[in-house]
Amino acid sequence: MAGTDPISQFKVKTLFSFGTIGADENGANGVDLVFTNSALFMVLTVGLIATYLILSTRGRGLVPSRLQLVSEMSYEFIANMVRSSAGTEGMKFFPLVFSLFSFILIANMWGMFPYFFAVTSQIIITAALALLVMAVVIIYGVWKNGFGFLKLFVPSGIPLPILFIVVPIEVLSFLSRPLSLSLRLFGNILAGHIVLKVFAGFIVSLSALGALGMFGSILPFVMAVALTGLEFLVSALQAFVFAILTCIYLNDAIHPGH
């Protein structure tokens, strides 16, 4: 059925092209420099965050205005989270965590508009974010602790025979972190948008059946409205989950001993 294919909404389209660089004389093997709808919504996301935070805090009121209050509350929210899960030393990573949280939250929210593109439903975006976090954790952990960073894999107070089982499990769980961090966000947003589209497709195909079908299509319509509400919850929750997992992984880099 045309128009109700649940996957076509994730298609990355070229909006305009800057041409190709690095192509050989046959015009092959080059890199296409194109501005896609994915890039457009990332620009919109960053633009909205930057504009809002700059404009709302420009007054610097001692008694904050309503707009300024939202900025201060989101600062307090993330700052408390970083302090409680990574300690005061973790506050040097506050800009990273706050940027990740606000980028994912606003990108998810842009994606909730009909016909808009959900940036976080592309695995390349979420994988890049997760690899950034893991790179920061590993580089900072090794820079700060040296070989002591390997204590991360050796929990203290465990008898030697059991260590032979525990250490491989710890290594495996560390290696699966970037995978789960990226797939969780990607899978949640992708699955949510597919389910919304499938239920919207039920409305169309049921109401094509005539009067009885139109009456019956009330059920998937109610479901689609309820699922939209659920998706807003999931969007905010996944941004929060990504931020808090970043804090917990950073805590491992700052204090590697268990």
């Binding site: 996957i7 989270m81 409680s84 899960s85 789960s180 797939l183 969780r184 990607f186 899978g187 949640n188 992708l190 699955a191 929750l237 929060f240 989950v241 808090i244 997992l245 917990i248």
Partner: protein
């Protein structure tokens, strides 16, 4: 044609794994609620642990969902 049918059946079977994640997430929230009713004062301090456990459990369900998508579309 048989290969197409087998692919669809396989994708359906792969999503069974999400049931396990559903049970796990239910246990986590149920136990959090039970503990929060016993000691409401300590509930707020454990909220980030709740979300951490939820996220780690849910990831396993998402893995099986991604396997299903890979069977269907990749």
């Amino acid at each position: 044609m048989e290969a197409d049918a087998a692919r669809l059946i396989g994708a359906g079977i792969a999503t069974i794994g999400m049931g396990g994640a559903g049970v796990g997430v239910g246990i986590i929230f149920g136990n959090y609620l039970a503990a929060a009713i016993r000691n409401p004062a300590a509930a707020a301090s454990q909220f980030s642990n709740l979300i951490f456990g939820f996220a780690v459990t849910e990831a396993l369900g998402i893995f099986s969902l991604v396997i299903a998508f890979m069977i269907l579309f990749a």
